[in-house]
Amino acid sequence: MSAPWSLTTLALFALSAHALWLLGAPLPAWLLAACGVGALPIARAELRPPRLAPLGLVGLLLALGAITWGACATDSRVWDGFVAWGATAKWLALDGSLQQPAFTEGPAYLQSRGYPLLQPALLAQTSGWLGPLGGRLLFPCLWLSMALTLARALHARGANPRAISLCVAALALLPAFTEGREGAADSGYADLLVAALLTHAAAALLAGRALPFALACLLLPMAKNEGVVHGALWIGCAAARGGRRLPIAGALGALLGLSAWAPLQARLVAAGAPAGTGWLAQLLVPIAALAFGLGLSLPRWRLPTVLASCGLVVTVVALSGFAASSLGEAFGNLARLQVPWADAPRIVGRVLYESIQPVKVGVTFLLPLLAAALLRRRGYALGDAGALLAAIGLGLAAIAAFVTLGPPQLIDSFLHTGVDRYVAQWVGVAWLASGALLARLAPAPSAT
């Protein structure tokens, strides 16, 4: 059901596309289809949709219908989906090449110059087959991939089928993605792609599967600028929980993804001028995250590895290896120690508010916290679900840090329409954490 949009398909497509672009070649119109076929042997398990109880199925189908209608009825009706992500997709739909003046010439107008190209490239490919509106089926497919990943991961954990359906219905009917606002599933923003990838990473971590974890970490930097931070968070959390295979796989995936995207981004931002080698510093981010997480898990090596990883982070910040983006500016301000502390309380307050905003996310982030508190009170360890909670907590802290350190003139804009989207990127992870924790609190079977 979700195989054409599986993680393997996306990773094959992303790697091929970035390799072709780095070589100066255009993307053939059949590339995504070929990657879908190529991924079948690995993604075959995803062909069978997970079984859902009626309530979960109804919630899923209702939301899927609304999102599909919203996505395919018109071009993006929300600002950034139209002016940034959608416009780039229209350029790529011409011939799949980055050799067009819009990408190579500085005076050419491209609002989203330097934005990651994975979603626009996917949209360009699907639009090539199905037309500009039909191609937007991409968005309901990505959304479905997130919801089905949640269901599959909870089934694999042995959760109660009805509890799984309730979690899926809760995620499916969440206004943050189902209603047509900024960042919603049909808005054309890349936040949905990030949310799907974060959910894949969380599911892989819960199942201890190294390949999907590596692929999610590979794809995150190619999906959105903050993906490099998300990848680092997952690598750090996976390493801190113990075990080597998963975090090392994640770090290798992120290194591969950044090696493909960061030089291309530097070239796009330079628009014909020499791109330099500053982007190489970004490669230190996953290494620093791995060292930090491993250091936390090894009591004897804790201090040296944590200090070494902090040194790497300082190096990344000092080298200013990030492209001219809001994230790059945030790292630049950190390097210059320009921290507007006065704004920090209202920014942190906004992040906390958006994570409990009843009309957007409801109890999405509250429920796993309550379930975790209950488990701890009863003396149980949280297990792998604890790593998901840690990732969510660090993700929310990263949002607050980014908005605080980012461009000062954009703080109000981020608070108005950014923070809610960034928080919503974590809803799939939160419902996965809830389902995993609730599975351990399941009621005893009734006596017959």
């Binding site: 919630g59 209702l62 939301a63 609304a66 209608w69 919203g70 009825a73 018109t74 009706r77 600002w79 139209f82 002016v83 940034a84 959608g86 416009a87 229209k90 350029w91 739909a93 011409l94 003046p101 819009a102 010439e105 005076p107 050419a108 107008y109 491209l110 609002q111 959760a159 109660n160 089928p161 009805r162 509890a163 309730l166 979690c167 219905a169 809760a170 499916a172 009917l173 969440l174 206004p175 189902t178 209603e179 047509g180 009843p358 009309v359 409801g362 109890v363 999405t364 509250l366 429920l367 309550l370 379930a371 209950l374 809830s434 609730l438 609190l441 399941a442 009621p443 005893a444 009734s446």
Partner: protein, 160 residues
């Protein structure tokens, strides 16, 4: 002596039905799903339907709801008249409404006025030089004046 089993309360029956314990967590989960279902007709269907209807009616002007009449006329004209192989030139920082105009015109090339060469071309293409009111260009180039960001104006300028 018969064993008396206490009748389970409604909330504990909900907990068993949902497969979630304790009961208050099950209630919280069910409340979230119920809220989503109750909100769905209004939030996901009616509002979306209204937005789709309005967006179809507005066409390329959907992203210019607060623009003045002259800006709207200019956007509609450029979307209709600008040929795909010519470059549309603008002046100004390129923020605000210029972002939406470039997206409306995509994949037609939009370039800053500084790219116009002495031969009147920009980035190897002819510069679009029409006029919404039919005024002859007479060797001049058309420029979208986006200095303000909240309004767009069309000007015909002589060679740079």
């Amino acid at each position: 002596m018969p064993v008396v089993t206490p009748k389970p309360s409604r909330i504990s029956r909900i907990s068993r039905w949902a497969g979630v314990a304790p009961a208050w967590l099950a209630a919280l989960l069910l409340a979230q799903v119920a809220f989503g279902l109750l909100r769905f007709p209004q939030g996901s269907i009616r509002k979306r339907g209204e937005a789709i209807t309005a967006a179809r009616a507005a066409g390329p002007l959907w992203h210019f709801p607060h623009a003045d009449g002259e800006t709207k006329r200019l956007v509609a004209w450029l979307a209709r008249a600008a040929p795909p192989d010519e470059v549309i030139v603008y002046d100004g920082p390129g923020h605000g409404l210029m972002e939406a105009l470039a997206a409306v015109l995509a994949p037609r090339l939009v370039a800053h006025v500084s790219a116009v060469g002495p031969d009147g071309t920009a980035l190897g293409r002819r510069v679009f030089a029409g006029s919404p009111n039919g005024e002859p260009a007479a060797g001049r180039i058309g420029v979208v004046d986006a200095t303000d960001g909240s309004e767009l104006r069309w000007t015909l300028r002589g060679p740079q």
